[in-house]
Symmetry: C2
């Protein structure tokens, strides 16, 4: 499988220029064409390639985009669960969409990503969209108090054949990636990281969804060196609607992720993505396969 050109790693496009016109690599990656049968056609993006197939976050965002673009959509996403059933091959894919049920204020979706003449499923997903209504609201968890993003250097994660990490500006407050086989095992898998799209792009529901998968496998922090690992299932709960997200512009978000347990080849990860003003934009959970 062809890797992305090496220039992607070295390139660091001029920061500070927003580009939400559709020519941003993120917008190109999640772009979908409607098919006559109500499904959607997409294409994998070399910009967001991971070691095997696309970065999981971009796939989740693409699936979400099939909902966001849907003419019969009711409200904004509240929940999305994506199950990574098999590798997504480079090239075209189809996202099959079914609206399972539309209620007065909520709508239930089932989706799958298929490829090839046999429509081989690589992913299944479910989602709930809803009309949000004014209601008593209040935080419970507080955003961690950490220095601002520009207090930290941008992490240079240069992994051969893994271009997607260059598509994010990541600044680690703690829990940075170390694949040094000599590094000590840790008893704490927590990462706090400021992140934004690279080049900058105003955050929206799709890019927020993608960022929820932006944490490298927690096992890398607990064990020295590289451990084969891959997300099996990820759930994102959206706590902000499109309008609220629009007030965040291109500001970096603070991602916090930790595992709760590593057992018999699977660990879980709970994560929060915080916006400016201490707003919890999304919480996310995943279960991850590892081999150690």
């Amino acid at each position: 499988m062809p890797d992305a050109p090496p220039s992607l790693f070295a390139a660091s496009p001029a920061a500070g220029t927003a580009d939400n016109s559709g020519s941003h690599p993120f917008d190109r990656a999640i772009r979908l064409t409607p098919l006559p049968d109500g499904n959607w056609r997409g294409h994998t993006s070399a910009d967001y390639r991971n070691m095997v197939g696309p970065y999981g976050g971009i796939t989740a965002a693409t699936v979400l985009n099939a909902i966001l673009q849907h003419p019969a959509r009711l409200g904004d996403p509240v929940a999305l669960t994506v199950n990574y059933a098999g590798p997504v091959q480079d090239g075209e894919f189809t996202i099959e969409v079914e609206i399972l049920r539309t209620n007065r204020a909520t709508q239930h979706w089932t989706l799958r990503l298929v490829q090839g003449p046999d429509r081989t499923p690589a992913l299944s997903a479910t989602a709930v969209t809803a009309l949000r209504r004014p209601a008593w609201s209040g935080p419970e968890l507080g955003m961690p108090v950490v220095p601002p993003a520009d207090s930290f250097p941008r992490e240079q994660i240069d992994l051969a054949g893994v271009p997607w990490t260059a598509r994010y500006d990541m600044r680690f407050v703690r829990g940075a990636l170390s694949l040094d086989p000599e590094s000590a095992a840790s008893d704490n898998s927590c990462t706090e990281v400021w992140m934004r799209d690279e080049p900058p792009r105003p955050i929206d529901l799709a890019s927020l969804c993608s960022m929820c998968d932006g944490f490298f496998p927690r096992i890398f922090l607990r064990r020295p060196g590289f451990v084969p690992a891959g997300t099996v299932s990820m759930t994102v709960y959206f706590h902000a609607d499109a309008q609220t997200l629009a007030t965040q512009h291109e500001a970096p978000v603070l991602g916090v992720a930790r595992a709760q347990v590593f057992a018999q080849g699977f660990f879980d990860q709970t994560a929060q993505v915080w916006g400016q003003g201490g707003t919890l934009l999304a919480s996310s959970h995943q279960i991850v396969y590892y081999k150690e």
Copy 2:
């Protein structure tokens, strides 16, 4: 809709006698009959009725049971996501099962619960089962240090038309249910509760799944009085296989649940279910609609 007979509330079957022969109310509630087309037929249980339709935990466990009973199942459940799309009517239902993809060590499932001649969907679900393998394992989160279950009185939750709460022995360490409209609002939604089936029943994957939904809506702790609320989507990650669970016998488990944010009519809940010896048996997450 007919309520369960009042005797269900008053009855408190003799404790201490295990019954896993299939005559336990839980086993009757999740019982399924195979259909010729590979799907399953079930029936709602008056024992686990909630205010509207069945208790969500018993429905999730019934869906899981369709997987557990399936002749083509590979391994034990690792992840289950259940989306509550509409009310489950009293009576018969069908659980439609599709094995989306079977890999070497993982298997992906999509399911839905339908009712009536039009096969009206009330629920969609996805699940992953997997062969667990020996691997480096380690906890990260620690089980809260709390006094043992028998230090606390059994909570008597007698709500008219809500028989399911009597099917659990619940002993609250903190964060007990209060629906007193005069009670003060709290800034903390955390509950720690010892729970087991009533009458006692050795825990297994299905009953563990059900217990993951055993926490009343977190909004009840944050706001005084009763607030209409209902789970929209729940995910359970299983961290113990059937063999590990079997060592737990009928011992109570410690459930811990809290919300992270309440925003525009939806709040999230993260929960852990701890077993004897400080083993994290399951972690669970849900997003819940509320009207306040």
